[in-house]
Point group: C2
Chain length 336, copies 2
DNA sequence: CTGTTAGCGCCTTCAG
DNA sequence: CTGAAGGCGCTAACAG
């Protein structure tokens, strides 16, 4: 293996240009005014030596490295992927980069991963953390600046960007009620997921609000296979009178739709099906899937806005919840 | 805003424990043996002060920061998402973190982004770079250690992990030939995509190999909408005698399938449709989509293996190409 | 086995 | 406007 030549340092540039390191530093970050002659000479030397400042040294001096970390339970989740995309683009426009840490759904690793990631970066985004509330509170306090995504944490000193699942469920149920449905089923997500809890809260609230409404809860999951596997209990609910199903998310709805179709169940004729998240594929399902749309990319941007404020020493901004928007499509129809 | 207290340094620990910084450093990275008494005392002080070493200072001394960067054209592409997942998990198991940089498909930004990202990290993964070959060659030489994904670069001193699209196309065509198809259509991807070029090469090769075979190329794209939009030219090809279509990837195939269904075209009765990548959803399409499967996560792991070798000063390992595996499903059937 | 010393590359007072 | 000098926090010789 050939050895790579040692990279040029600011000292090399200074020597080459016949000036002091301080001057080089000055032209580099243009904080003070410098004699045009020197500026020119230094720039020439920089070009000649192919010099570029060491980020490590800068980090040491400044105490920051223009990098933020995002901790997620699963990088394969379309919601988190969208948020990552939005976050990384927004951060990049301010010269920040994003480091990712996937905890592979291991709740017990979340804290250590977050601590380690934060230690390498200037700030942290905690995405849908699964850990217990008290632990989370301590953690966000210890690791500030932090922004929490998709997890409520009442009265905590941390900005939160989330999705109003309670409201989303209610709006979706209203849509179904409008179509005449009075007996529904909800296929729930993973028990550890806070956002599933919110949806369940929405279910409970709406059930309480409408005395003539009944919603059966069926244990499900968060993936395609889970939706596929849950078809039998769903059909049982249907036998028992349910005329519409709300799935934890679009993936589950897809799996369910597929299985129902293979079983010859008419959707939405015999049973209406709705999902959550409005993944791009929803429009392309058979039948096209009614879903609650969530602005994934924009959420990423909003997270960055809050984190940037925090990094700059600004105030902890208010919690913001995005209200999912109904995308009514063909998988939901009037009750027969 | 309350000020955060300055973090403890190794000097604080040394003072607290009544030993030298060197001793603290020694117990920290256990390189040399230290008197058990001191070890104990230092550990107590570390715990008492809540000390944790500064990564910036370490980076400066060691000249590395245990971070690698991955540059991708689009974080929303399922293939890259899978590779990122696999890469980040594999790297994490060796104590490395991954930083992402999304060029948002802007070829003109690729080089600058790669240079900047590399400057912050110890190594680089270039995912399906779109830039011209000569420029890419210079870049990988300048930014080593680098691993290139999904882009061929003959005789370059860089490990490459890719997908054998040529072979994949051939195997897929063989599957269709076996079903009796002799006149096909290929819906192509973005012109700037190297992997589209490979697929086209596969198309050309297989056409040359089978004199009785004809493959029409139809300009398409890489997304759901592109597949939806390309239905008309596909049907025109069908009128002209084509009995099967190969789409650039599964997203395009999905879009196409959806449009065809809405137009009342019988798949696979009137027309067989196949995709590429085998995204999880493929199995759940209507009809389930025949596709060529690619081990996204594993590719990420393989990329890390190569990069790790390089970082450790090892040799530039050979190019490895994954051969896509046929997943024959219901969207392809015998020609009538 | 331990402490002292000199950097790693850069920025930032402080004089001049 | 410029240069010299000290320090950011840590590690790696080098003596003791």
């Amino acid at each position: 293996m050939r050895e790579r030549p040692r990279a040029a340092t600011i000292a090399d540039v200074a020597a080459h240009a016949g000036v002091s390191q301080a001057s080089v530093s000055r032209v580099l970050n243009g904080k003070q005014s410098v004699d045009p002659t020197i500026v020119h000479r230094v720039q020439a030397s920089i070009a000649a030596l192919g010099y570029s400042p060491s980020v490590a040294a800068r980090s040491l001096v400044h105490g920051r490295n223009d990098t933020i970390a995002m901790v997620v339970p699963d990088l394969e989740n379309p919601l988190f992927q969208g948020i990552l995309k939005g976050l990384s683009l927004a951060a990049a426009s301010d010269g920040y980069r994003v480091m990712v840490a996937d905890t592979a759904e291991r709740v017990e690793d979340e804290e250590a991963t977050a601590v380690e990631a934060r230690h390498r970066c200037d700030a942290l985004v905690l995405c849908a953390p699964r850990m217990p509330e008290q632990r989370l509170r301590r953690l966000v306090a210890a690791l500030a600046p932090v922004v929490v995504v998709n997890r409520s944490l009442p009265d905590a000193d941390v900005p939160i960007v989330g999705i109003d699942y309670v409201r989303g469920i209610r709006d979706l149920v209203d849509h179904l009620r409008g179509l005449g449905h009075r007996h529904l089923a909800y296929v729930s997500g993973p028990a550890s997921s806070a956002s599933n809890g919110e949806r369940l809260r929405g279910v409970a609230e709406v059930e309480a609000a409408y005395p003539d409404l009944r919603i059966d809860v069926i244990p499900g999951g968060s993936r395609l296979e889970d939706g596929y596997a849950v078809a039998e209990p769903v059909l049982a609910a249907s036998e028992a009178g349910a005329t519409a199903v709300i799935a934890f998310n679009d993936l589950v709805a897809f799996g369910l739709l597929t299985r129902l179709r293979r079983l010859g169940v008419d959707v939405p004729g015999a049973l209406s099906v709705a999902g959550f998240d409005d993944v791009p594929m929803a429009e392309y399902a058979t039948p096209s899937l009614t879903s609650m749309s969530v602005p994934r990319i924009e959420i990423g941007g909003q997270v960055w806005a809050r984190l940037r404020t925090l990094i700059a020493g600004g105030p902890i901004q208010h919690t913001v919840l995005y209200r999912p928007r109904l995308e009514a499509r063909d998988s939901t129809g009037p009750v027969r």
